[in-house]
Symmetry: C3
Subunit: 266 residues, 3 copies
């Protein structure tokens, strides 16, 4: 991939929005690329939640222009010997700590047979001159992203590696006539994202979805197909199964959290 003439960088972190941490990353990038276009994908990943960060990143990255540099920092190991890394995966660049954040995207790119290249960021001349032990988002990942967007080749930024850390993503278990999955993320609306894909569901109109002792029959096409307050199952915008309460908050209504089992049978 060639860097686009307009240089796009996205940021995804667990830094929150109150302390100026994400804004500082913009500043560091602008000092290197004054005309960068920076998008804040999310700064509200739950603190240290690498799986949520990785899945949110995976659902977002491919909607951006080719060549976009995507930065993610959910980094409980900042300043330890976990490696900072950068990658070219398919048509995009990625910058993140080597702690499993990249796993969902890496798996998708592997499945698609697209190009894969990782480097260990070990060339401090591309970092800020002074590196704090606790804010690599500012001191390493932001300047690296800017240099990548500027066209600096991956190979100059560090040594090639082939063994990025992989996060164990919960997989559904095959049943005789269905799947046993679980809630892997919960969105702003309280909708529950289940680790079962659209293509693995057969006979959607005769489906039974069981969660927290309640049964849902059939898939709805969308929220407004049923009455407000009703518990429904449907295919989400990322082609996976979701459970929602129409005009309501399923997580609060069912009083459940990540990891709750969900059984789908037909």
């Amino acid at each position: 991939v060639e860097a686009s003439p307009v240089k796009f960088i996205t940021l995804l972190t667990d830094f929150g929005m109150q302390d100026g941490y994400s804004g500082i990353m913009h500043g560091v990038i602008y000092r290197i690329i004054p005309d960068a276009h920076i998008t804040d994908l999310s700064h509200a990943i739950h603190p240290q939640n690498i799986l949520e960060g990785g899945l949110t990143w995976y659902r977002s990255y491919s909607f951006f222009p080719e060549g976009t540099v995507h930065v993610a920092v959910v980094d409980p190991g900042v300043g330890t010997n976990r490696r900072p890394m950068a990658a070219r995966l398919g048509k995009y660049f990625f910058v993140c700590p080597d702690n499993g954040l990249i796993t969902p995207i890496l798996e998708a790119v592997e499945k698609a047979g697209e190009p894969i290249e990782f480097v260990h960021l070990n060339q401090p001349r591309f970092w800020l001159p002074q590196v704090s032990n606790v804010f690599h988002g500012r001191d390493i990942f932001s300047p690296i992203a800017a240099h990548l967007a500027n066209g600096v080749p991956l190979a100059e930024l560090g040594d090639r590696i082939t063994n990025p850390v992989r996060w164990s993503i919960p997989r559904p278990i095959a049943l005789e006539n269905g799947w046993k999955g679980e809630i892997i993320t919960i969105d702003h609306f309280g909708n529950l994202n289940i680790n079962i894909n659209e293509q693995d569901i057969r006979n959607p109109q005769n489906l039974r979805v069981r969660i927290a002792g309640q049964d849902i029959y059939g898939l709805s096409k969308t929220f407004g197909d049923r009455a407000p307050g009703e518990l429904i199952a449907l295919i989400d915008s990322d082609h996976s199964l979701a459970i929602a309460v129409v005009n309501g908050n399923a997580a609060r209504t069912l009083n459940i959290d990540l990891g709750e089992p969900v059984e789908v049978t037909w």
Copy 2:
């Protein structure tokens, strides 16, 4: 209106900031207009609150450059037969579901006698190739906004319509010497926005404002005119009546919510 040489797009949704939904809309727009300037007006409209979304939109739109394309997605009916629509109202373009979100702006533009043109978005060639039933913000509204900002005429995006859905905005009731209104929005500070306009208030210095069993006498010019903790009434930055607690949170102090009646007499 001509599209400005710099292309401005604003986004207002109830999507929240955690899941990457609003960032994805940036990506979709940048793929069509690499040099767009995108402003996030708000992604914290309370879920499915069309009135709050419409009023927040109304208070914001006119401060942007002429030709700006304003997108709003508060869309409980996504994927049902509610129409996606676009409009030119006065000097701006608007993109939203046809569910009443546009009502406050439409009424202002009608009152000003400015040009009005609506289309039903029914030309899928301007959408993303694949349209989810649950995320038209990504698949329909964002690409349409980009094409509008790029100068594609409204008439190419869909068939003209003249009957957009109108939301019933609560009106104040005239009293012999005053008005009976209600709280229509509550802002981040806990300030209460009342549906009574500055120009409808006579004799502001002898005013009595009654809310939740408490009386406020006279209008303050601004917050700092009275002592911290005091309950005051004043004219807000949108020229309507507001009730506030100096350096405090009126909604929490009075323990009240939207719809609470407010009586103004002189």
Copy 3:
């Protein structure tokens, strides 16, 4: 300092993200500088918390390109006789109410011996034509920032002043062999920022940090050096002392708030 060819403006306020207030400021700026690059540093300063706003501003401003115009609005005195002001301090421009927000940055620039120039914004021709008593962020500070970024000299925007209001920043008290400080801000992660600087700490490996009846021995290099759940002290990314719970929230764990005393001895 010369304004950079790309015009950078940052915004820091206590306006929150729900009401469109910060987005409106973008619109006002774009009407004056269509190609401005605007960064939202934070809109989540706690309402009316001038000290938190000033310290967050101080930690962020110097990471931006030289010539950046930094706007801060935490303004309980909006519309009273407190002065709106603008300044050139070192390599940057600043726009804010004259209420002490600028103090931490001003002290740093004074210490560095860099140029200092303040003006009282009293030239309404550079403001929006209509000025509300309650939203100077929109009506005065945003257009002033845009004109500054456009190269309008400070001296045209108002009369020179030399006595900006200074906020009393809590200072640590020297002990025989250490310091008695306090919590001055608490970040998104619940990490506690203490008003004791790295350079004032001697003998870091034999340090004892006492907070809320608990003792911490020695400074950690970073979070991941100790076990999850452990209470640690470390040097933060702004070179001051911080107290944290590894992968946890120190403010919640210790159930403490701003102002809590912290004793450091060696």
